[in-house]
């Protein structure tokens, strides 16, 4: 399945009947979906500023709070690394790989967690948090589940960004159902807007997404206008 197909499926599942009224509620449904579909013992959406934890936006499953609390307490672990690097950290067996986090790994195993997968909410170098998944059993996610997790983290990122640029009458299904948002020109436009606003690329992306949503055009079309200098975001 293409990633747009995956995205549409997950967005439909979390914005379906009984529409969520807040980003927190939406993320709660995302974590619930992940726990149910992937037999997880925990799933959380954690927000961070740099390496400073701001708290969990949603947290489902018996181990969800345990792993995030442990990492923030010990100052090391997959979600901190994922957020700092902008890259996913996949730990299929915390019991055999203890070298990377000598304090966190044994503590997590002692608490009953054997596998953890942490994916940054980011595009580019600076993350605003992570989507964290854990299991009581060791083992890697299937390719199909890993693809779903990466797409789910993109959705979580976009949902959190929408908090910064709240649109009137937020329609999450419409806001999150954005196609073509991974084209190269979108990343170029994000960089240009960040320069225009003298802000981070994450906030620039939030502005670009909000502009696309408000105009009813695709993020790809607006990005082309930005790069061609037909549209500017200077105040």
């Amino acid at each position: 399945m293409s990633d747009e197909g995956r995205r549409a499926r997950i967005v439909a599942a979390i914005t379906g009947p009984g529409n969520a009224r807040s980003v927190g509620a939406l993320m709660h449904r995302l974590c619930r979906l992940a726990v149910d579909e992937m037999a997880l013992s925990g799933c959380a959406v954690v927000l961070m500023s740099g390496t400073v934890p701001l708290g969990a936006l949603a947290s489902i499953g018996r181990h969800a709070a345990t792993i995030t609390d442990l990492q923030f307490e010990l100052g090391e672990g997959p979600c901190l690394q994922a957020c700092a690097s902008g890259l996913p950290v996949l730990m299929p067996d915390l019991a055999t790989d203890t070298a990377r986090w000598p304090a966190f790994s044994p503590a997590a195993v002692a608490a009953g967690v054997r596998a953890e997968f942490s994916v940054p909410l980011s595009v580019g170098p600076s993350g605003i948090g992570t989507l964290d998944l854990c299991r009581a059993e060791p083992g890697m996610l299937s390719d199909h589940h890993l693809a779903d997790v990466l797409v789910a983290a993109d959705i979580a990122r976009d949902a959190v960004l929408s908090l910064q640029e709240p649109a009137a009458n937020a329609d999450f299904a419409a806001m999150l159902d954005v196609v073509g948002s991974d084209r190269l020109v979108v990343h170029q436009a994000t960089g240009m807007i960040a320069a225009q606003l003298n802000d981070t690329t994450m906030n620039a992306l939030a502005r670009l997404r909000a502009a696309a949503f408000e105009s009813g055009r695709s993020i790809y079309e607006i990005a082309q206008d930005v790069v061609a200098r037909r549209v500017g975001f200077d105040e």
């Binding site: 902008g86 170098p125 890697m140 797409v151 190269l184 170029q188 960089g191 690329t201 790069v227």
Partner: protein, 263 residues
Amino acid sequence: MSEVTGGHARDGFASPGLEDAARPRERLLARAFVRLADTLVEEFDVVDFLQSLSSDSVEILGAEAAGVMLADPRGGLRLLASSEERMRILELFEIQGAQGPCLDAFGSGQTVQANTAEGRSRWPEFAQQAAAAGFGAMCAVPLQVRKNVIGALNLFRGTDELFSDDDLEIAQAMAGVAAIALIQERAIRERTLVSEQLEAALHSRIVIEQAKGMLAEYLVTSVDEAFILLRRYARDNNQKLTSVAIGVVDRQISSQALARPQP
């Protein structure tokens, strides 16, 4: 590839001068592989490395443009590097995430090639854009490490002349080197590492695009020119292209520093 001169076959005692003149491609190829081997010894930048590989394959195989696409662990293919950074060419590679020779080579693990007419019947939308960009014959060679197909090397010609068997063999050798460079040996045994390494490579390209946009804005230039500035700065300062891009995006490196000619 034996050369026959003056009506009778030579038996390996051709003068060096003649040999060189008759085999410019072999020399280009040898030079390209030596350069690739040099790159691999040290820690290298994945986008920079694949761009050199693309440019080398263009030169050696008589193509107009070449690009490397990689598997996104989310599904589909993404452009990682191209011999041509002009946006129109980048987009021609990019749309092959949906349709085109790259996607077919990636899906089948087999080399795919087509002339204009064949391309039009197999991939109508893609072929139209390829023709609009001035391209004729095209081929795509899978990037694979053992049985794992991780992407494809894509070549375009300005004419409609198909790539010869020798051309395709060389393209496959170059794709093989690229695949080995991208996915380290130990990663083949661990699926986790393959995914992490592919994500890291794709992440590099995203950051470079963001940095291009930022530089284009700050320096009032085009995104194409911004890429040239980024690469020049990275080479002059002996830094990885991706590290420079991250530095620009995080504002650790001033855009003005890239505008000035390096001392």
